[in-house]
């Protein structure tokens, strides 16, 4: 016999409080105890206790504060039991046990500290991404496992190893000193952008599974901007994410097929996200960083009424700058597309020849697809067809293969 699953209101309130508050609670506990694992264990214990206590005597007015206090008392209890001599307990001696339910002050600096610790360069990129989602964004291990297509136990092991590494290697729990801040901030931004691009790519691929990654990444970038309001690169990253995200609905048509930027119905772009993104973009500060520059490029597209009226001269200049600040073959490929739009397909092909000569994008479907597109515009259909075929063979997702197949049919017709 199957039983209907009934919603459990207590569990829902607890889950909501945990999702909204876990970063604050865990960061408070880590600041107190200096121990990542202990902090997360105590939050779990508090949640378990909440389920019984709240059923018995009702949900408290401020579930987040209740969880914080219970988790904190649990930490003190565990530490006292573990060792009366430990350094942590000396620190805790100044933190009196608080009566349950009392408001606990947590300043926003704690979350910033937590982000910097989770994104420490001495951790592998995979570890940073997983720990940031778990500890800062408050996702469950099962959710993160699903996002990265691994089993829950694999993800659990990865998180356990990462927390152990933080403790064993002495990764500090604090915001880096001012002289290291910009280098370390870049590491944090790289983690957030990786989350975002993973989510963004997936929305055009075979699965919508990674879509929550997009929202998590934007949410975390928002937190970072809130915490470092004067940092141009943090603002640039948030702007870039919002402007790219604003086009989500137009990137895929009703049949699930990919639509290029040029052909997108701009009426489908999310106006709120565009407005917010544009409000964060600086126009011409000198020495702009990689995210600021990419945000400015995205802004050029966002401000144009259609592809034809896009300021490609400015986009080419911005890609030139980006190529100096953060040279990469993908930047060069995008520059080729902008050059083609600005000065014609032949000029774009010349840039592609340069990439070919360097050999840095050999075997990448986007190089062949771009070349095919420029050849098609020049009316060199046979050559275009060959490149579309190559690109189709190399394309990583089904949606991209179908898109290239359609283009191929058009030039061989």
């Amino acid at each position: 016999m199957t039983s209907r699953v009934r919603p459990d209101p207590i569990a829902e309130v607890a889950a909501r409080a945990a999702a909204g508050e876990s970063a604050r609670i865990v960061s408070t506990l880590i600041r107190m105890t200096g121990d990542f694992t202990l902090a997360e264990d105590c939050l779990q214990d508090a949640l378990t206790k909440a389920m019984t206590e709240w059923r018995k005597s009702g949900v408290p007015t401020n579930p987040g504060a209740w969880l914080t206090t219970v988790a904190k008392n649990r930490a003190i209890d565990l530490l006292r039991r573990a060792s009366a001599e430990s350094r942590a307990i000396q620190r805790l001696a100044h933190e009196p046990v608080e009566p349950e339910g009392e408001e606990v002050g947590v300043d926003s600096d704690d979350r910033l500290t937590l982000i910097f610790t989770c994104c420490h360069p001495a951790l592998s990129m995979d570890a940073r991404v997983a720990l940031t989602l778990r500890t800062v964004a408050g996702l469950s291990t099962a959710e993160i496992a699903r996002l990265f297509l691994v089993t829950e136990s694999t993800m659990e092991k990865r998180l356990v190893r990462t927390r152990a590494r933080i403790k064993n290697t002495g990764i500090p729990y604090r915001v880096p000193a001012p002289e290291h801040l910009s280098a370390r901030r870049d590491g944090v931004l790289a983690v957030l952008y990786l989350l975002f691009t993973a989510g963004y790519r997936a929305t055009s691929g075979d699965t919508m599974l990674r879509r929550p990654l997009l929202e998590e990444a934007i949410g975390l970038a928002r937190v970072l901007v809130e915490l470092m309001p004067d940092d141009p690169e943090a603002r640039g990253l948030l702007a870039l994410m919002l402007l790219q995200h604003s086009r989500s609905a137009a990137r895929v048509d009703a049949a699930g097929e990919l639509v290029t930027l040029e052909q997108q119905d701009r009426g489908l772009w999310d106006a709120d996200a565009t407005t917010e993104g544009l409000s964060l973009v600086t126009r011409s500060t000198p020495n702009a960083g990689r995210y600021e520059l990419q945000a400015r490029i995205a802004a050029c597209h966002a401000e144009a009424i259609d592809a034809e009226h896009t300021d490609f001269a400015r986009i080419v200049t911005l890609y030139d700058e980006l190529g100096t600040v953060a040279p990469s073959p993908v930047v060069e490929l995008n520059r080729a597309v902008a050059v083609a739009m600005h000065r014609g397909p032949s000029a774009g092909l010349a840039v592609l020849d340069g990439i070919d000569a360097a050999g840095t994008l050999d075997g990448h479907h986007l190089l062949a697809a771009t070349r095919a597109e420029l050849l098609r515009r020049l009316g060199r259909r046979a050559e275009a067809a060959r490149e579309y075929e190559r690109a189709r063979a190399l394309a990583p997702t089904e949606a991209e293969r179908r898109y290239l197949e359609r283009r191929l049919t058009e030039v061989t017709r």
Partner: protein, 110 residues
């Protein structure tokens, strides 16, 4: 926390420039900072000797000679507040420029 710094060679690093070697400055800074400091250069792997005891039998062999061009050229044991401080100290060692420094925390006494 106590960290061991393995000062290693790196075949891909720029050629060693004796004029840029400010190891005395580094040592003075480290000793001023942590009070206690213990470290030295090591003779090359060609002067290494390996000792093993198997089934009560002592085995002594020459080497192991480095099969790669990366080998430990020196060591330092330094007490640091945390990994960030250890990274900061390592980054100022001249061999960070002409080789590489591997930082390992000591196994703490429970």
């Amino acid at each position: 926390m106590e960290y061991m710094f393995f000062v290693c060679t790196d075949p891909t690093a720029p050629a060693y420039d004796p004029a840029d070697d400010d190891i005395e400055v580094w040592v003075a800074e480290v000793e001023k900072h942590s009070g206690v400091h213990y470290g030295n250069r090591l003779r090359p792997p060609s002067d290494a000797t390996t000792v093993k005891v198997r089934d009560g039998q002592l085995g002594v062999t020459a080497g192991p000679f480095a099969e790669t061009a990366e080998w430990i050229a020196g060591y330092d044991v330094i007490d640091c507040i945390d990994l960030d401080e250890a990274i900061e100290i390592a980054s100022r060692h001249p061999m960070a420029r002409y080789g590489q420094i591997e930082i390992r925390p000591s196994w703490p006494f429970e």
